[in-house]
Amino acid sequence: MTPWSDGAAAYCDRCGEPVCDRDHTECLAHREMEPPRYCPLCRRRMVVQVLPRRWSARCSVHGEA
């Protein structure tokens, strides 16, 4: 599920641009092989940890993505 599909997300978690400004289909495709980088709620860059078999992304305000 994309973080913004629940209607709460304002920003694309890959490029950080507002979701309603343009089409983010390409970002979505990239996200299959990339962790998110921007918090979908506030657009802050998240702290992302990538381990061999899992990843985590954390916004300093909104917590885990």
Partner: protein, 334 residues
């Protein structure tokens, strides 16, 4: 007989027959082979790999100990602090390092590489590496490699003393193209670290990236320059254009070019461990891993990369089983 068949005939005798890698000029011919010769080229590269390296595949996992904020300006890299990349700086703690090593060992991998985005290690980083290695050793049976940038002789000595089995330091690009890729350090500085690592008796892992806008000739040059260093392992990366980097808008390399490069690297270095590193998923898609493993590759990175994600490790392991390529065991690589 056409010219095309000729280079393959020459390669069959020289590389498959006598184990001598192709020269830079010969590699250019290989890289220029038309698409219709690609299957024969890959078949030859595969035969070379089987004859000189055997059927085993070396499996490795990697993890970023220190991510982002690097002072260097390698134009392909999302971890440089000089570009507006979305990658934020982060240090991994020892517990996470041990977890990463465990995840890697669980795949049957024999190698675990600790990577840091730095110009070279400072004392804090070396202390963290030392603590990490000790903690991993206490819990996980795996060879530990490091990639910490450029080294002084004193740092090389410390890593040897910590028991680091292999050191990664890529040339990244051919000497003639390097200034277009990196301006904050020189090709010669990279070369010097590789030389120090070899001289100290550590295994050398040294590769580079292709698909960064270099010419075919420069691709051949990179392979020839790597061959000169005689690395134990050569990781081959395909540019995965990262947002915010100077190479962020470059096109992804085409699959045929990527496979020709795989085969050419194998024909340049018949005895080396040739590893599929970053970018294989986006350059070659689903089938690429299989085609590469049947075209000269004999090592893979499983699981995620440093800042991007990889194929599911289980898919790679299933593929190796299907191809009847055993995973190289730990004891054999010690």
């Amino acid at each position: 007989m056409t010219d095309v068949a000729e280079i393959l005939e020459v390669a069959r005798e020289q590389v498959l027959g006598s184990g001598r890698g192709l020269s830079e000029a010969q590699l250019v011919e290989v890289l220029r082979l038309p698409g219709e010769d690609l299957p024969a080229l890959l078949e030859l590269a595969h035969a070379v790999r089987l004859k000189w390296c055997g059927p085993e595949v070396e499996v490795e996992g990697i993890v970023s100990l220190k991510t982002g904020g690097c002072p260097e300006d390698c134009h392909f890299c999302s971890q440089s602090g000089q570009f507006t990349s979305p990658v934020r700086a982060l240090w991994l703690d020892v517990a996470a390092l041990v977890e990463a090593a465990k995840q890697t060992a669980a795949t049957g991998a024999s190698e675990f590489c600790i990577v840091a985005a730095v110009r070279g290690p400072d004392e804090r980083l070396l202390a963290q590496v030392r603590a990490g290695i000790e903690a991993i050793r206490a819990e996980v049976d795996i060879n530990i490699a490091c990639s910490l940038g450029m080294l002084t002789q004193g740092q090389v000595d410390q890593l040897v003393e910590m028991g680091v089995h292999r050191y990664n330091h890529n040339l990244e690009a051919a000497r003639s193209y390097f200034p277009q890729v990196v301006t904050t350090h020189s090709f010669e500085e990279r070369w010097e670290t590789c030389r120090l690592v070899r001289a100290a008796g550590m295994e050398l892992c040294c590769g580079g990236l292709v698909g960064m806008g270099e010419t075919l000739e420069q691709r051949a040059e990179l392979a020839a320059q790597l061959a000169q260093l005689q690395p134990d392992e050569v990781p081959l990366n395909f540019l995965n254009p990262r947002p915010g980097t100077p190479f962020g808008a470059l096109p992804v390399m085409g699959p045929a070019d990527a496979l020709r490069t795989v085969a050419a690297f194998r024909l340049a270095m018949p005895h080396t461990i040739l590893r599929y590193a970053g970018g294989r998923e986006i350059t070659l898609g689903e089938l690429g891993t299989r085609e590469g493993l049947l075209g000269g590759i004999n090592a893979v990175i499983v699981g995620n990369y440093l800042t991007t994600l990889g194929r599911d490790a289980d898919d790679d392991l299933d593929l190796l089983a299907e191809l009847q390529m055993p995973i190289k065991e730990l004891s054999k690589s010690l």
